[in-house]
Amino acid sequence: MAHKKIIYHCYGGAHSSVVAAAIHLGQLRTDTLPGDAELMRLTLFDRQTKDGHGLLHFFGFDEQGKQVYCLGCRNAGTTVEQVLLQVAEMLGLREDLFLVDTLQCVTVKMRIGGYFSRRWQLVRLGRPLVLAGTREAFPALVSLVQKVKEEVLP
């Protein structure tokens, strides 16, 4: 039997989806807000480039053996989601695949900081904003992941 696959997706695949995947896999504690160092230790956090948009990045297996991925879709998240689900259905794989849009949790600071850091490569200006914004968005991301875990049965 194929492993179920959970794909967290956002605009750039560099911030909210990465943090959601890390929460899902237990790489970040959910009872406290993560520090800068903890966030920067995450694979791809504020490091994804536009060449990686559209590519699925494997983050690991959760406690139930489900595979967790993240994906950057730019502003075509809904479209990409729809295409992937239809292609999966065409190939008989629909039951295995779950896509979760994490953009709903993104704060203004994350958007602005992410734009500076990733789009314009102004990392020293954008990264502190992204880190602060991620901490603001953290509770929403935690509840989104909890909801996903409840919905996606093993």
């Binding site: 194929a2 696959k5 948009h53 559209g54 590519l55 699925l56 991925y69 994906l71 950057g72 879709c73 730019r74 502003n75 075509a76 809904t78 479209t79 990409v80 989601e81 729809q82 295409v83 992937l84 239809q86 292609v87 999966a88 065409m90 190939l91 794989l93």
Partner: protein, 155 residues
């Protein structure tokens, strides 16, 4: 094996490419407007059809042919489908996305403007002209996709 012909903001170019693939258009000369207008889904796509697959038939080898259109970032869609296939260890020809994009990315915008002004007849004429201008490239695109992926399927 499945072919997905991908258009930007409308289904004109993918519908024509699928027509070439399925032998519904004569590939020896640019198609007449009447031939194009009889192709299934040769039209503008509405906003809620963004990312939806339209099956249009199967070719002589039994491969399914679909149309697909997106409003933005077709390259991200192509990469994500290829990445998904890789995830399941499937070959690329399991769902081959073939982009059918106009050379000038502003062309669909003109179609949208004409459509927005209610000039649907003019928009269709514009679309037929676009297809006829791109016909050589489309023949090459379809032929390349079929040669590579039909032969890959037989290996």
């Amino acid at each position: 094996m499945n072919y997905l012909y991908l258009g930007l903001a409308d289904l004109y170019l993918p519908a024509a490419a699928a027509g070439i693939h399925l032998g519904r258009l004569d590939s020896t000369k640019p198609p007449a407007a009447a031939d194009l207008l009889t192709l299934p889904h040769f039209r503008r796509a509405s906003r809620d059809e963004d990312g939806r697959l339209f099956p249009v038939g199967s070719d002589y080898a039994g491969n399914m042919v679909y149309l697909l259109c997106v409003r933005v970032h077709p390259e991200v869609v192509v990469r994500s489908v290829e990445s998904l296939l890789g995830l399941y260890g499937l070959p690329l020809h399991a769902a081959k996305v073939v982009p059918c994009l106009p050379e000038n990315p502003q062309a669909p915008l003109w179609g949208r403007v004409l459509s927005g002004l209610g000039l649907h007849g003019l928009e269709q004429k514009f679309a037929c002209l676009l297809v006829r201008n791109c016909f050589g490239n489309m023949l090459r695109t379809v032929a390349e996709a079929r040669v590579v992926f039909d032969s890959a399927a037989h290996i």
